[in-house]
Each structure stands twice: as C-alpha cells, then as structure tokens.
C-alpha cells in the first residue's frame, strides 16, 4: 500500500542500477549519497503507521467452518461484573502514548474476559426456594425446609437455650466460628458446623458488644468498663483501658482496626496489629447504639437520634458524609457488602433503602408493622428485618419494591441481633434466651475464594493467611469514601507542581537589603510592616464577610432587669 505522494525511501547503499540477478562486489564502488529530507510529515507517517488503508480493503473472508464455531460466548452480565471501569478512551493526544495505552487496555479487556470465562469453574450453586404458583414462600417454615433438604444442611438449623440474658451473636470472617456474648457476662466461642466448643467463660460483668478479630483465636469483648481481649482458650490477653464504656464495635479486617463507639460519643479505632489507637475523637452525636461498617470502603456508619446517618473515617475528625434519613431517631442500619445499598429504619416504623454511592434520595421506602430492632444484608443482597420476635427476610427489595417477604420466622423470644453466616445459607439470631440458627436458601455466596477466607482452613493455613494479611495491612489514612482514590491522579498537587516549575523559570526573588540596618529604624520599619499587614488582613476579612453576606454578629440583646442589672453575672468575667 504505497502512498502515491511518498517518495521511495532509498538506502544509502542502494545503487542506481538495480540488477537483482547480479551479485555486485562492493569493494571499490562509488556510493551515491541521497539526501533524504526528513520532514515532519514523513516522520509522522513513517513512525506512527496507522492501518488506515483508505484504498481498497481486502474483505476478510470468513471461513465458514460450522464445525469449529470459535470460542464460547460470554454472558454479558458476568463480563460486566468483572469490569474495572471504562478506559481512558481518546484522552491521550500523543500518538505514541495512545498506542501504549491501547496495548494496556487490550490487556485489561483480556483479563476481564478471562475472569468472566473462569466463572465456569465455580463448583457450587446458589440456594433456591421454589414453590407452586398458588402458595407463598413465606408459608415455608424451617420445619419444611429441614424436611426437604439433606441431613447435613438440616443440621444447620439448631437452637441453643441459654440463661444469662440477651445474647449477641457474631460469625467469624470465614463463617466457620460463632461467638456468643450475653448481657450477663456469658462469653462462648465454638465451631458451629462441627459443634466443637473453643471456650465458654463468664466474665462476671455485662458485655455490651463482642467481635471476632482477624483470626478465630482472638475475640474482643466490650465489657462494662473497658475493652477486653480473649484468647480462644478463654484467657484474657488484653485489657484496654483507653477504650471505655463501649456500646458497639466493628472489626475492619483489611485494616486490622477495631472501631468502637462510646457511650459519650467517643469513637476510637484500635490497630490490633501494633496495639495503637489510630483515631480517637468525639463525634458529638451523643449516645448512639446504631453503628455498622461499610465493607466497601471501611467507613463506619453511625445513626443519630436526629435521623442523620454519618460516615466516619479514623483520620478525619469530621464526618465524611451526612445523610438525613429519617425524621425520627434511627433504630437500625446496615450496608451490603458491595457498598451499594444501605438500609435504615427509624422509630416511625419506616425502612428506607438508599444508594450510598449516589446519595440522592431513598431508592425504596417501606412501612413496617413495628420499628425494627436490627437489619442485616446477606452476601446475596437479601435483607433480614428483625421485628419484635419475628424475622422477615426480603429477597430483592433494593432495586424493586417488594410487598411480601421471602421468608418469615417467628420465634417466641425477643430478638437481640442477627447475622448472616458468610458463605452459608444460614442466619444466626441472638435472642433473649439464647441463640437460634435458621436456613435461608439463597442468601449466602456459594463459592468462596480460599485466598480471601477459607472455611476449611487448617491451622497452618490460618497462620500463613494471618502473615499474608498482616503484610497487606492497609494504613488507616487510606480510608476514604471512594476506595479507588489512591489510583487516581491528584490533580490539585499536580497543578501545584506545574506552577512551581513555571515559577522556577521566571523566578522573582526579593532583593537583598543593601542598606545598613540601623537598630532603631529597623525595628520601626518592622512595626510599620506588621501594622500594614494586619490592616490588610482585616480588610480582606471584611470583604470576605461581605461576599458571604454573613450578617454581622450583633451582640445579643441582654434582658434588662432595671436596677438589678448590677447583679447579673457576666459570663465573660466569671471564671
């Protein structure tokens, strides 16, 4: 494909006579020098050769091999699931960099395709519940489920009748171990699948909240006064007195941070790998027991008594975001594990579903029979709502409005809290009199990733995983609303850098003071400069105020009591 305009590029050793047959001896021959003028156009067409053959294109003859149809088609949904965003597209101007970027994007697309294709290797399947057209899924009770399911799955439905007060239940990250803590001090951890008990103690104090730490050998219990940490044999390993009167705790697994909120509104984040408190400040919301973590970006969501949900990060003393959710105090809050939906419920018996990433308005608004005690999302976006003594599980309540729940489970006892077991179809409910575990078909993620959390971990694997996790520990400063912030270009500082560079080339430096600095005049001059600077600042402040149209602070009118004014205490003079 020759461009008719372009000259045929001749090499410096090409001779004029083109004898292809003859082998010419090159010893003593005159070499003709060709002056090839290198123009920018020549460079451009030569260097960045694009395949725009504007002439005739050879049509690609499709080989119709009906036997060999090529690669299997990929489900576009799965492809979308694995996509990491759109590319930069045509943002790059320089053709060399654009080519490099194209190559990179090809690699990304290939990786996306391969990941979507690898889904075929997943062995397990979702749980499901299918009923006839005329009957409802809510009519299915645990008894019927137990009858229709194999024996090992049926064994997952069990109930523990315990004394010692209302129980809180939490599952470990791989869903294998269960921790129970009661208000009256009963603390127990066991492997709920094999029913093997790790330890069972009574701490002789009230426990307000419990949490697993990064491994199943360490637990934290927020007791009446301070925070205690226990081993898997029940021995107390730490007592952290800096975190006192904790109401709620959450463990951030990738940052190794134990986040806790206090009775007085103090929030603290304890880094359990080094034992330092990373953030410790008052959130000025008063006493709130409504707290959860957003697993997508590791921020803590706290519900207010004024109906405001605020998002907190350890290094920033102000909330990252505030959302006015309800007009009444909040009773429960939960965020799903992809960080897309947030469900909040208030005293006014309403439950709203929000899209956290957009924060425009509620996606859904439901009216419930009573104010829910607890809300929880499962791994497959099923929402469990705990009302009095009934747990209702909604299947697909976020993107569309559902009228009926998927499953209901009525228990005689008052519900305290519940949690979905991570890779199982199980919901564990902590009640006033113990613990109940029920089956919820289709709520858990069937295929786990063994390098993330492995329910079938051996002791050695656990130790190795702990070390790898510690190496990958994310520093607390990186907790922001958008976790992908770290990969983006910091545009303000780049602008600063560019400006600094520009300044360097045109430097305006202050000239040296050549005159002798007499002591008195020097001091006087400095005073004058200070005065001038101060006046300027005041003027600027005034102008800024005018711009903002702030009303000038008028002194509040003091109530006058006539003669008795002299007895009115001045808060300024009072100590």
């Amino acid at each position: 494909m020759k461009n008719p305009k372009k000259k045929e590029n001749k090499r410096y050793f090409d001779t004029k006579t083109e004898d292809k047959g003859q082998k010419t001896t090159t010893d003593n021959k005159e070499v003709e020098v060709f002056n090839i003028k290198i123009t920018p156009e020549l460079l451009r067409t030569h260097k960045y050769k694009k395949n725009d053959k504007k002439g005739f294109k050879k049509p690609i003859q499709k080989k119709d091999n009906s036997k060999f149809k090529g690669k299997a088609p990929i489900d576009p949904q799965k492809l979308e699931l694995h996509s990491r965003g759109e590319g930069v597209g045509k943002g790059v101007r320089h053709p060399l960099h654009a080519e490099k970027l194209k190559k990179k994007e090809r690699k990304f697309n290939y990786a996306q395709e391969q990941a979507a294709r690898a889904e075929i290797l997943l062995t397990e399947d979702h749980g499901a519940l299918e009923v006839d057209e005329d009957s409802k899924t809510t009519a299915i009770s645990q008894k019927i489920i137990a009858e229709n399911v194999d024996i090992s799955a049926a064994a997952k439905i069990f109930e523990l009748d315990l004394d010692f007060g209302p129980y809180r239940a939490k599952y470990s990250k791989n869903g294998r171990h269960l921790l129970l803590g009661s208000n009256k001090g009963h603390l127990a951890a066991f492997d709920w699948v094999t029913k093997k008990l790790h330890f069972e103690i009574n701490v002789m104090e009230s426990i307000h909240d419990i949490s697993w730490l990064h491994v199943e050998t360490m637990v934290a219990a927020a007791q009446k006064e301070w925070l205690y940490m226990y081993d898997n044999t029940g021995t107390e390993i730490h007592c952290i007195k800096r975190m006192d009167k904790i109401l709620r705790m959450e463990f951030l697994p990738y940052h190794f941070l134990l986040a806790a909120v206090n009775e007085f509104g103090f929030m603290s984040w304890l880094d359990i790998s080094v034992g330092e408190i990373v953030g410790h400040y008052n959130n000025r919301l008063g006493r709130t027991a409504v707290m959860t973590q957003n697993p997508y970006n590791a921020t803590i969501c706290i519900g207010n008594s004024k109906g405001v949900v605020s998002l907190w990060s350890p290094t920033v003393k102000d909330p990252l975001a505030k959302i006015l959710c309800h007009k009444t105090p909040l009773t429960a809050i939960t965020v799903d594990n992809r960080g897309m939906y947030m469900a909040t419920s208030g005293v006014d018996r309403s439950m709203k579903i929000w899209d956290i990433r957009n924060l425009d308005g509620p996606l859904q608004d439901y009216r419930l029979r009573s104010a829910p005690v607890h809300l929880e999302f499962s791994q497959k976006d099923m929402l469990a709502v705990g009302l009095d003594d009934v747990v209702e599980i909604y299947n697909d309540c976020c993107s569309k409005t559902t009228e009926k729940p998927y499953l209901r489970h009525r228990m005689g006892k008052a519900i305290n809290n519940f949690k979905f077991c991570p890779y199982e179809d199980v919901l564990g409910i902590g009640t006033r009199n113990g613990f109940t575990s029920i089956l919820v078909p289709g709520s858990g993620e069937p295929n786990f990733d063994a390098l993330e959390s492995n329910p079938f971990q051996t002791k050695k694997q656990r130790k190795e995983a702990e070390i790898k996790a510690l190496l990958d520990k994310i520093p607390a400063e990186l907790i922001t609303l958008n976790p992908f912030d770290i990969t983006e270009v910091d545009v303000p500082s780049m602008q600063d850098q560019m400006e600094a560079k520009k300044k360097l080339l045109k430097m305006d430096y202050t000239p040296r003071q050549k005159k002798k600095r007499n002591g008195k005049t020097f001091v006087a001059r400095r005073k004058i400069i200070k005065e001038v600077a101060r006046k300027e600042f005041i003027e600027q402040a005034k102008e800024a105020q005018k711009l903002l149209n702030l009303p000038e602070a008028q002194p509040a009118k003091k109530p006058s009591f006539g003669v008795l004014d002299r007895f009115v205490s001045n808060p300024k003079t009072k100590k």
Binding site: V31, S152, A298, P446, F448, D449, E452, D472, I474, L505
Partner: protein
C-alpha cells in the same frame, strides 16, 4: 402439601480438604470483585512492599576477578562462551578468566607497554590484542599445547594503535590510532586506510548488524562514521567535548551511544547525526566506557567518578548506580551476553562482576517464586508514579563525593536555566530562542 423445591448450599468437606498429608491443599478460587473489597488500597500496599523488598534485596556485587598486577585497561567478551573473558592490563599482561568460578585460566605478557584494546573474532577461536608497542597480535582462545601460547600472527603498524574491532562476517578487522586502518589476517599491510583531518582516533567499533558500518571516536571531539567497503569516511558529527567510547545497539542497526567527557552519554541515529536521539545524564564526571546489553534496551556506562551506571535506552536518567569504596577509576565496562551480569575493570587491578538487575534472584526459580516476582514487577509498574513508591524506587545510596558533585551540578544547571529564563523575560520576544537540549551539545555535522 404443595410441591416445594428447596436447595441450600451444602458443601462436602471431602471436596475442600486434601485427601492425604502428601497432597497439596485445595484452594478454590472465585474472582468476583465483591469478594475482594478494597482492591486498590491493597494493591497499593503490596506495591509499597514490593518496592521496599526490591531495595532490601538489591545486592548487585557478586565478586571480583583478582590477579592483575596493574590497572585493567580493556576487556573482551567471548562471542559464544558466556564464561570466558579476556582482559588486558597497563603492564602488557593479558589474562583469560573463567567467570563461573572467577578464576584466571591463562595469563601471559603480550605487549611492552599498555594493552590498548582486545577483541575476539566472531568465531571465538582467536582474539586480537593491540598494544603500545605498535603491534597487533592474534592469539588462540584455547591452548592445548605449549606451542599455542605464542601469538598466531603479529602485525606491525606504522603508527600507534589504540583500538581494535572485528568485522562480523569477513576476516577483516579495523584498528584505530592515527588513522582508521582495515587489516586482514593474512596481509602484513593494512588493506585500507581512512583519513579525515589530522587528529587521531582512540576508539573504533564495528556495527554487528549492519556489518560494514564502522564508527570511531576522534580526538577532535567528533564521532566519525565509515563504511568498510568505501575508500573514505562517510560523515562525522562534532560535539562540544571529546567522546571516550562508543557502542552500537545490538538490536537496532542504526543506533549507537557515545560516552562523552561532558559527563553525558549521547545516543545517535546514524541517519540523522544533527542531533542525538537522547541524552543520558547522571554521571558526575567524564564517562569512560559504554556497552550495550544484548537486548538493546539498556546499556552500562562507567565513569571517572568511581561509579557504574545503568541506563535504559529511551530514558535520560540512570536506572541504577553501582559503587564500592574499593573501586577506583573505571577503565572499561562490559555487559555479558546472557544479559545478566556487568563486568567493570578499574584502575586498581580488579575486575568486578555485578548483577545487571540488582535485586534479581540468580539461579533457577520455582514457578511460584517466578509468579510472585512477576506480580511484584507489574505492581511496581502500575504504581510507579505514586510519590511514595517513586521515592523508594528511585532512592540509591551514593558516596558522599558523588552526592556533593550531584548537588553542585544541579545548582549549575539551575543557574544556567534561570539565567536564560531571565534573559528571555527581559529581552525582546524572540531574541533568546528556545534551543532544545539535544541541539545544544552538537557543534556541527560534516560530510
């Protein structure tokens, strides 16, 4: 009872636990991004760890070849045997080394005076040495009997000879000194003599890809190109300061790099000698020798400040710097043909062997090791522009005299830039034109 179909996740532990103790553990994977939250910060932390570990394992020095009794003047790589190296010293001695055990296999006195240059023939059977006593001697690479110790051939030249290089295919070699001369093994007189101007040449090199192309560094601060089939030189480019050495890119036939006295290295394209393609800055003193890696993507430069720097062909700053307290002025550097090691010969009678990539693990890597290292490499590449990662990746400990020299050079460069900017700001627009950096260092190009 209506029909009800219930399916629950029910895992068979046999599928997830290994059968016997001698099996490996089973690790089912699921690449769903919702199971791997906080992807970006975790990758960032891993990139930081990778960069830090790279610095931890950056121990490039392997060993030294001890034996010479005077400074090492030249090195020559065997074209087909990786472990054979020939080196010449300032006392006329030539030693042949076995690099695998770092021992000298053969040593003999070759010349009276310096051994100026060494060069192996492409077959690898013989090598040629050139000395201060105006002789060009050809020796056998492998010695089986005591008779083989003598030079196969001795040629006497009229003038001092300072460099030698061999043609890739033909049995001719070129020497430089007063003029560039082409010799053939069998003839006693040079078959061709190239003259241009009066000045002498001190380094000559044949292009291994474009076999007939030859380049030489002359003492009139120029680099001259010759064609071995012609009678005269082709063109030359004159620079501000003299070039000490020259090396052709083994992958791209038309690219060569010169090591210049003005602390820089210049990469030229033969087709356009008017300005260099790239200027490589980094050294704080005159650059003495340069050699390309066999991949053509990197090259090593040794300089009068006692460091060895590795540059990438397309970048202007060095990728790495090697130095030792014991290493004094460098005279020659070579990059071995398996792209793994760098050899540096210096004034203090030692030839040092370094790793080309300082934190590389030598030896056979297990597949998991290799994947882990590849992963680290790609992470470092992905986060290369992050300030923290860049800071750690760039950081090299450098001796104090070099640090001081670098600071000094930096102030000098800044001053020059600032002065020019001021001049431009205070004169008529257009009076002080923007001259690209690459054009500044070339004086002229001649035919």
């Amino acid at each position: 009872m209506s029909k009800v179909k219930i399916k629950v996740i029910s895992r068979n532990p046999d599928d997830y636990l290994r059968a016997t103790k001698r099996d490996i553990h089973k690790l089912p994977r699921n690449y769903d991004p919702s199971l791997h939250p906080l992807e970006a910060p975790r990758e960032y932390v891993r990139a930081m760890n990778a960069v830090k570990l790279e610095r931890v394992f950056a121990k490039p020095f392997i060993g030294n070849l001890d034996g010479h009794r005077d400074g090492v003047s030249s090195l020559a790589k065997h074209p087909s045997r990786l472990a054979v190296l020939a080196s010449g010293a300032f006392d006329g001695e030539i030693r042949v080394w076995d690099l695998a055990v770092r021992k000298c296999t053969r040593n003999f006195v070759a010349h009276e005076g310096w051994v100026r240059a060494l060069c192996y023939t492409p077959s690898g059977e013989t090598f040629t040495s050139v000395g201060d006593d105006k002789t060009i001697k050809t020796w056998k690479s492998e010695v089986k009997s005591p008779e083989d110790e003598e030079p196969i051939n001795t040629l006497l030249s009229m003038s001092v000879v300072t460099g030698v290089t061999h043609h890739r295919n033909k049995p001719i070699f070129a020497t430089c000194g007063e003029h560039c001369q082409l010799w053939e093994n069998t003839r006693n007189e040079p078959i061709k003599v190239f003259k241009w101007g009066v000045d002498s040449l001190h380094h000559v090199s044949f292009n291994q890809v474009e076999h007939n192309l030859l380049a030489a560094c002359a003492s009139d601060r120029s680099v001259i190109l010759y064609d071995s089939r012609e009678s005269g030189p082709l063109r030359k480019v004159v620079m501000e300061l003299r070039s000490n050495a020259l090396s052709w890119n083994p992958m791209e036939a038309f690219i060569f790099t010169v090591a210049n006295e003005d602390y820089n290295l210049y990469t030229f394209d033969v087709r356009k000698l008017k300005q260099p393609i790239n200027i490589h800055m980094g050294h704080t003193s005159a650059v003495i020798d340069v050699d390309y890696a066999p991949t053509g993507r990197e090259f090593v430069a040794g300089s009068y400040d006692k460091t060895v720097r590795i540059f990438e062909s397309l970048k202007g700053n060095s990728r790495d710097v090697y130095h030792t307290k014991r290493m004094q002025r460098l005279t020659c550097v070579k990059w071995t043909l398996d792209n793994k090691y760098i050899l540096s010969g210096s004034d203090e009678m030692n030839i040092r062997m370094w790793k080309a990539r300082a934190s590389e693990k030598l030896g056979v890597l297990k597949p998991r090791e290799r994947t882990a290292l590849n992963y680290s490499e790609s992470l470092k590449e992905k986060f290369a522009n992050h300030p923290q990662v860049k800071r750690i990746a760039r950081h090299r400990h450098v001796p104090k005299h070099i640090l001081n020299a670098q600071n000094e050079l930096r102030t000098i460069k800044e001053k020059v830039k600032r002065k020019e900017a001021n001049r431009r700001a205070h004169s008529k627009p257009g009076a002080v034109p923007f001259v690209p950096e690459r054009k500044r260092h070339i004086v002229k190009e001649d035919e």
